[in-house]
Symmetry: C2
C-alpha cells in the first residue's frame, strides 16, 4: 500500500531494539513530517557514523579521534582501571563526578546462553594495560551473566597478581526495604558495616 | 562524554515520537552495531524520502509518482470517496479488502486545543473532486476532534447537496459487553438493527 521507499524506511526502523511494525510506521511518518533540512542532517550523520566512530584502542569506549578523551586525559589516575560491560556504563559512572581513574569497556558479558565467551570480549587489551596498575575495579552489572564475567575476571587478574575489587551490592538508595528482593537483602546483610567506619 | 557525532545521532532519534534520552541512546548504539552496508542504506533512504515521497495531488495519500496507485486505478469506483484523517487510515481500510471506492486524506483533524482549523486540512481539494460523486463516507475516528471534523464536513457537504454517510459506531467485534464504555453502549443501542436487515 505505501510507496516502496516508505516501506524501506519502515524496515530500517524496525531493526531498532523493541520497535515493531506499528511503532516503525509511526516513526516513519514522524520523519516524513520533519523539515527537509533535519532529515538531510539525519542522513548525513548516519552516512558518517560507522566510519567516524570507532572503539578507543585504549579502553574500548566510543571515540572520534585515535584515543578517547578519558584515555587522553593526563590528569586522571592511570593506576586504577574500572572494567565495565558497555560504553553506556562509562557515562553512568562519569555522571557521579567522583571517579577519576581509567575505564575498560568489555563490550558485552560472558553468556553461555547467547554463546558469548571470554574470547568475544575486549579482555586481551585489558591484560596489555596492566603495567603499573594498582587496582582493577570490576563493575559488571549484578546479573547472572555480569557475575559470571566478574568471577572470570577476578580469577584471571589474581593469577596475574593484580589487586581487583568489586562494586558493593546492597539496598539501592531511596528504595523501600520491603520492596527489595531476597538476594539484595542477603547481600545487604552480608556486607553490613559499623556506623562511622 | 560521547563523541559529538554520536550525540548528534541521539538528538535526531529523540525527535521521534515517544522517544526519550534513554531510548534514543539505545537506538544509537543499535545503529552503531549494524552492518556498515545497512547504515549506508538507511542514510540513502533518508536522503531521498522527503523529495521522493509527496502527498498524492488527488487524495493526499503518500505517493512516489504523480498520482497514488489508488487514484490511478480505473477499476475502482470513483463515485464514492471515503474521507479519513491520516494516511495510516487508508491502509487500515484497504486491509479489510471490502472497500473499492476512492479516498481523501485530510491530514489531521479539526482541534481547537491544538489550533488546527478547517483551513489547515486538505479540504479544498476534496471540494474540487465532488463532480459525479454519489457518496462521501466520513471516516474520522470517534474521538472529540474526529467528531468535530465529521460534523463540520457533514454540514459543508450537505450545503453542496452531496450525500454523506458516517461509519457506524457500536460494540467492537470480539469485545465483552461489560467492558464497553457508556458512550459505546449508548451508540450501540441507538443504532440497533432488526436481525436480517
Amino acid at each position: 500500500m505505501y510507496p516502496e521507499l516508505f516501506n524501506q524506511l519502515k524496515e530500517k526502523l524496525e531493526r531498532l531494539p523493541g520497535v515493531g511494525k506499528k511503532t516503525a510506521e509511526r516513526y516513519a511518518f514522524a520523519i516524513l513530517g520533519m523539515d527537509e533540512e533535519d532529515v538531510k542532517d539525519f542522513s548525513d550523520i548516519l552516512s558518517r557514523i560507522k566510519s567516524d566512530i570507532k572503539p578507543c584502542p585504549g579502553c574500548g569506549f566510543l571515540s572520534e579521534k585515535h584515543m578517547c578523551p578519558i584515555c587522553d586525559d593526563d590528569t586522571r589516575d592511570h593506576s586504577v582501571i574500572m572494567v565495565v560491560s558497555y560504553a553506556q556504563d562509562v557515562v553512568a559512572i562519569e555522571k557521579t563526578n567522583t571517579y577519576h581513574g581509567m575505564y575498560h569497556v568489555l563490550n558485552g558479558v560472558i553468556s553461555s546462553s547467547k554463546g558469548i565467551y571470554p574470547d568475544d570480549l575486549n579482555i586481551d587489551t585489558l591484560l596489555k594495560r596492566l603495567d603499573g596498575v594498582k587496582e582493577v575495579i570490576i563493575a559488571t552489572s549484578p546479573t547472572i551473566d555480569g557475575e559470571t564475567t566478574a568471577l572470570y575476571l577476578d580469577k584471571l587478574l589474581s593469577s596475574k597478581n593484580i589487586y581487583s575489587t568489586r562494586l558493593a551490592h546492597g539496598l539501592p538508595m531511596g528504595a523501600s526495604l520491603d520492596y527489595a528482593d531476597e538476594m539484595t537483602l542477603i547481600k545487604a546483610m552480608e556486607n553490613r558495616r559499623h556506623q562511622g567506619e
